[in-house]
């Protein structure tokens, strides 16, 4: 078995790759935070049917979900420099693209992609809240904003949590694509190790196991969180 799998090498790979796990987590968490804020905004635009922006929001949701992650990352990676060049031409101010680290592109691209999914998830969570709740709020004299913020959002948050959890797990896996736009995260580091040592099997097995472990951890964490927050769903009449 030794000439198939070099176990000593496996150990070495594991410890060298472990250092890159925080980068993956950092990418995922920052993208998730950005995407959540963005997704919430987009959802509200669609929900309130604001004239032009609402339509744009719908288009964004369609496109953001139809495009593969890799294509979105590439688009951001190549579009941003062009936008900045046009900007510096138009305003005469020099903004060099070299100053922007690749990770910014990755987070931006991942946020745009995830935000589209989250907007839909939030929408379905909000629509799972009974219509009567908002009616009661406005009948009391609250504005839509007050009713939404105080009554609908807290209830929708509980419905949204499983969806958010799923999306985060998908995002975690999506960070592996960032290596294609030169971000040195877990998978990128794995590829470097492969080419340095010309051994593929061990490296990819270890990296797969690392991702699997991270996924399993967060899956469990979300499960526990969902249980804790379901307290006010408890005791609901059938």
């Amino acid at each position: 078995m030794e000439n198939i799998i070099d176990f000593a090498f496996v150990g070495e790979v594991f410890f060298r790759l472990l250092a890159y796990v925080p980068i993956t987590l950092g990418l995922a968490i920052s993208s998730m935070v950005l995407a959540s804020i963005w997704g919430l905004l987009i959802m509200v635009l669609r929900l309130r049917k604001i004239p032009l922006l609402g339509r744009l929001a719908k288009l964004y949701i369609l496109v953001g979900r139809a495009l593969p992650t890799m294509v979105i990352l590439y688009l951001v990676f190549f579009a941003l420099p062009v936008v900045l060049l046009i900007f510096s031409d138009a305003t005469g101010r020099e903004v060099t693209i070299n100053q922007v680290p690749a990770m910014v592109f990755a987070v931006l691209g991942l946020s745009i992609h995830t935000g589209a999914y989250l907007a839909e998830n939030f929408r379905s969570a909000v629509q799972s809240v009974e219509k009567g709740q908002l009616e009661a709020a406005v009948a009391c004299g609250m504005t839509w904003q007050q009713g939404f913020r105080r009554i609908i959002l807290p209830q929708a948050a509980v419905f949204a949590l499983p969806l958010l959890g799923n999306q985060f797990l998908t995002l975690l896996k999506g960070t592996s694509i960032a290596f294609m736009i030169t971000v040195m995260e877990l998978f990128g580091a794995a590829n470097v190790l492969c080419s340095e040592n010309n051994r593929y099997l061990e490296v990819y097995l270890v990296v797969a196991l690392l991702y699997w472990a991270i996924s399993a951890f967060f899956e469990k964490a979300f499960f526990v969180l969902e249980h804790k927050l379901a307290f006010f769903k408890r005791g609901m009449k059938p």
Binding site: V71, L75, V82, L205, Y211
Partner: protein, 232 residues
């Protein structure tokens, strides 16, 4: 703005990129068919909790869903040949890379489809099974004639989503040597430096393909209606 972005170039490269779309479609179709067969078998194993196989299936599904597709792709396309060579199959080099791609994409789709089919089989009322059994149908007959058709119908939206997901997965296979529109875009871009235009073309192609898949899914859903939408 002319030299920064060229619509002209976008339009000119579109036909070139489109000519490679057959690879994308082939991979998607083969992967889905493989995935559906595999997924159904696994779903049945899991629904009936067949000893031994059930646990293996559970681990397999957890692995596929817990690791990135990109990692699975590289693992099978680079790691597996290494493993096979180590085991003595030296002709591995002559196998076309596309075969490995079919394998990994089929395995990937299969895991997700297994979960979809499992939940739709479980959603079929017990009464359907009881009725079939009461008239003397065997298990196999029950599944083939009553349960699986209904399960498929329930699963159509989720299966449609899975097809779209598989389609999006094809955007990564150029990394393991497949010559498709993305590889072509990469090549063209390294000459012309007009990456943005090329990937916008690619984006448009994917959007249109997704759109078609959604139309087909909706059409399929209506065709297999069985009067459900007439019911109150």
């Amino acid at each position: 703005m002319g030299s920064y972005f060229s619509f002209d170039y976008m339009i000119k490269s579109m036909p070139i990129l489109l000519s490679y779309i057959d690879v994308t479609l082939l991979v998607t179709v083969v992967a889905e068919i493989f995935g559906v067969f595999l997924g159904c078998c696994i779903a049945l194993v899991r629904v009936h909790r067949i000893k031994g196989l059930n646990e293996v299936a559970g681990v397999y599904i957890s692995f596929v869903r817990g690791t990135p597709f990109l990692v699975q792709l590289y693992l099978i396309c680079f790691g597996l040949p290494q493993l096979l060579q180590g085991l003595g199959y030296t002709e591995v080099r002559s196998l076309p890379g596309l075969l490995f791609v079919f394998l990994v994409m089929g395995l990937h789709a299969g895991a997700y489809i297994a979960e979809v089919m499992r939940s739709s089989i479980l959603a079929i009322e017990a009464g359907q099974f009881e009725a079939a059994r009461s008239i003397g149908m065997t298990n196999v007959q029950t599944y083939r004639r009553i349960v699986l058709p209904q399960a498929f119908r329930l699963a159509i939206p989720a299966l449609g989503n899975n097809v779209i997901s598989t389609l999006k997965g094809t955007s990564l296979i150029f990394n393991v040597g497949v010559v498709d529109m993305l590889r072509k875009a990469d090549l063209l871009g390294s000459y012309s430096y007009r990456h943005l235009e090329l990937y916008m073309d690619i984006g448009i192609i994917y959007i249109v393909l997704c759109f078609f898949i959604q139309i087909i899914t909706a059409f399929w859903e209506r065709r297999v209606d069985w009067g459900e939408s007439d019911a109150a």
